[in-house]
């Protein structure tokens, strides 16, 4: 018995170590480029540090206190981000789903529509934002306002008015990402076997019940994935705001990422920006956890 156990124990230790060796390169990358910056972010958020002066001054929770209780602009940025995220998540999922339902059948026209919808995804956000800044130009040169004036309607101030600026940014983001997410839903729709629809037809299923009771549950894994990724991406929105509005007018489109960027690289308040970054990270973690807790039971995996 003992003789038999000896080689087994040896291979057991080997089995224990081998996986760590195999994953070591990937783990090293994660450590250097993900976990270290994360830890450093949290560390820096407790200091007063300006990139130029090498001396960091420990200030404890002061940065966080300032974020929430002294300055009003962080809470404003947080609120803007929430509004932006809510609007983008809602409209992207809704419109991508509707578009996908429309173009799910294979036809030349549908392929054309799908290609058109997908193209914005291939263009750099910066270029898109530039083009949209022109389209939404408040002067008569802007495309939208030209169209409006053609119908004798008063011009809108789009990006220049705090009432419509956020809406304008949302429109651009939705326009840009809808094709990509639509593609994911279309492929999920195509994976539903035709017999399911036929069986539903034989079951005398009304159209709305077909959609809500059969199609939507079958799409739930993809929709859940979309919900999580779009939420995270929207919370981190930066380039659209940076190019189109610079957070303005006033601070109507000031979002967290742009806020962090401003304080870190314009005011050189690294510690304060780190505190804002930490808050963003915690919010995203909480949100993702809530999604998984609250929704994963309603997601149907095959």
């Amino acid at each position: 018995m003992k003789q038999q156990q000896e080689p087994r124990r040896k291979s057991f230790t080997k089995e224990k170590i081998l996986p760590y060796i195999m994953t070591a390169p990937a783990m090293a990358f994660l450590l250097v480029f993900t976990f270290y910056p994360m830890a450093n972010l949290i560390y820096l958020s407790f200091f007063d540090y300006n990139l130029i002066n090498p001396n960091k001054r420990f200030v404890g929770w002061r940065n966080y206190y300032e974020l929430f209780f002294v300055r009003k602009d962080f809470l404003n940025a947080l609120q803007n981000t929430a509004v932006y995220t809510g609007a983008v998540v809602f409209f992207v999922i809704l419109l991508a789903l509707l578009l996908a339902l429309w173009i799910r059948k294979d036809s030349k026209f549908n392929h054309f529509v799908q290609t058109c919808a997908f193209t914005p995804h291939l263009v750099a956000m910066l270029s898109c934002a530039m083009i949209w800044a022109w389209i939404m130009d408040a002067n008569r040169y802007g495309l939208f306002n030209t169209v409006l004036s053609f119908f004798n309607l008063p011009p809108l101030r789009w990006l220049n008015s705090s009432a419509t600026a956020m809406l304008s940014v949302v429109i651009v983001s939705v326009w840009k990402s809808i094709g990509y997410y639509c593609l994911i839903i279309v492929s999920a729709l195509k994976a539903i076997p035709a017999e399911i629809y036929e069986a539903a037809e034989l079951d005398n299923t009304p159209r709305y019940r077909l959609f809500f009771r059969i199609i939507l549950p079958l799409l739930s894994p993809q929709l859940f994935f979309l919900l999580v990724t779009i939420t995270i991406n929207s919370f981190k929105v930066f380039d659209t705001v940076r190019v189109m509005t610079e957070g303005g007018p006033g601070n109507a489109t000031d979002v967290i990422s742009f806020y962090i960027y401003r304080y870190a690289f314009r005011h050189f308040r690294i510690g304060y920006a780190s505190a804002a970054g930490t808050v963003l990270m915690v919010i995203l973690m909480l949100l993702t956890a809530v999604y998984f807790r609250g929704l994963s039971r309603r997601v149907h995996y095959q």
Partner: protein, 347 residues
């Protein structure tokens, strides 16, 4: 009462003709099997009855009522699909209940029906399970229960047993026959498996290339084939068919199990001498392949296993077991005397 009638039905998929000018009556209460090789149009026909693959032209009647343009859910038919097509996101109960809910059946009534049906198919213990946790046979039963609970006038089944293993398939075959006897509704069953068709059907409708080859009880079709296709599609191995030496336009055939083997020249009507080429021992019977000197070979299924390979034997068949077919492959039923004389002279 649920008689199904096809009147001048055509079906094209684009340019491809699948069915042309088909007329057919499926009688009330029968277990009718649509049999044929793949691509013969049998599933197309079934889908027309269901309403999920409309006919290009022609009319379909159910109990004399024109249902050509009636939506599938309003026809009073239920279908069991080859891959079951169970709703994967619903529980077994949800699957069975779905059609009832759509038809606004009250809750108490629904519960009663589900209880009854799940009792019949043996799913009572699994009502709250998801289909993904069930075995193939259990999923088959869910599909069956979903069809039964609607109390349809017609059951449509599209190769429902083809995804089951051999043992389960045999068991389900018996259950379906019993179910039909109990419910006494019309069953229309599609299969390419002639053994399944022979075992289950009251009436077999044998199709090829969109055309009905023969319609009748399994025994009729087996014993009295109308053409070469029918003669060779049914039976394993298929009927031996070869042309007559002196009448090249006519072919003669007999079933392997109707032929006899002997060392001595028999007195049977048809007799020929040949060499045993192969011998397959199948258990209760033995299958021999016999080569005649002119290059023709036939299969003989015999209860005797004593004959050996390379032995010279006589193959014999009696007069009433011979079938004659013309150039077009159709059975010749009249004026056989001349032909029989030719066969009787074959040595």
């Amino acid at each position: 009462m649920a008689q199904i009638e096809f009147s001048n039905v055509c079906k094209y998929f684009g340019e491809t003709r699948v069915i042309e000018n088909l007329n057919l009556t499926i009688k009330d209460g029968t277990f009718t099997v649509l049999l044929g090789p793949s691509g013969c149009g049998k599933t197309t026909l079934l889908r027309m009855i269901a309403g999920i693959g409309p006919a290009t032209s022609g009319r379909i009647f159910l109990d004399g009522r024109d249902i050509t343009f009636t939506p599938p859910g309003k026809r009073g038919v239920a279908m069991v699909f080859q891959n079951y097509a169970i709703y994967p996101t619903m529980t077994v109960r949800g699957n069975i209940e779905f059609g009832l809910k759509n038809n606004k059946v009250p809750k108490a009534e629904r519960d009663r029906l589900i209880r009854e049906v799940s009792e019949v198919v043996g799913l009572t213990a699994f009502l709250d399970r998801k289909p993904s946790t069930l075995s193939g046979g259990q999923r088959q039963r869910v599909a069956l229960a979903r069809a039964m609970v609607k109390n349809p006038k017609v059951f449509l089944m599209d190769e429902p047993l083809s995804n089951l293993d051999a043992k389960l398939r045999a068991a389900m075959r018996v259950e379906l026959i019993e179910l039909h006897r109990k419910l006494k509704t019309t069953f229309v069953y599609v299969t390419h498996d002639q053994v399944e068709a022979m075992a289950m059907a009251d009436t077999i409708i044998l199709m090829n290339d969109g055309v009905i080859q023969q319609e009748g009880s399994p025994a009729e079709i087996y014993r009295d084939p109308n053409n070469i296709f029918t003669a060779q599609f049914l039976g394993t191995p298929p009927m031996n068919i070869f042309s007559l030496g002196e009448r090249a336009d006519v072919q003669v055939g007999f079933r392997p199990e109707k032929a006899g083997l002997s060392y001595e020249e028999p007195s049977a009507f048809f007799r020929r001498r040949g060499t045993i080429a192969t011998r397959e021992m199948l258990g209760s019977e033995t299958l021999y392949k016999i080569d005649f000197p002119d290059g023709i070979s036939v299969m003989v299924k015999s209860l005797q296993e004593s004959f050996g390979v390379d032995e010279q034997v006589w193959v014999s068949a009696s007069r009433e077991d011979l079938c004659f077919f013309d150039e077009g492959g159709q059975r010749i039923r009249t004026g056989l005397d001349g032909l029989l004389a030719v066969v009787g002279g074959t040595r």
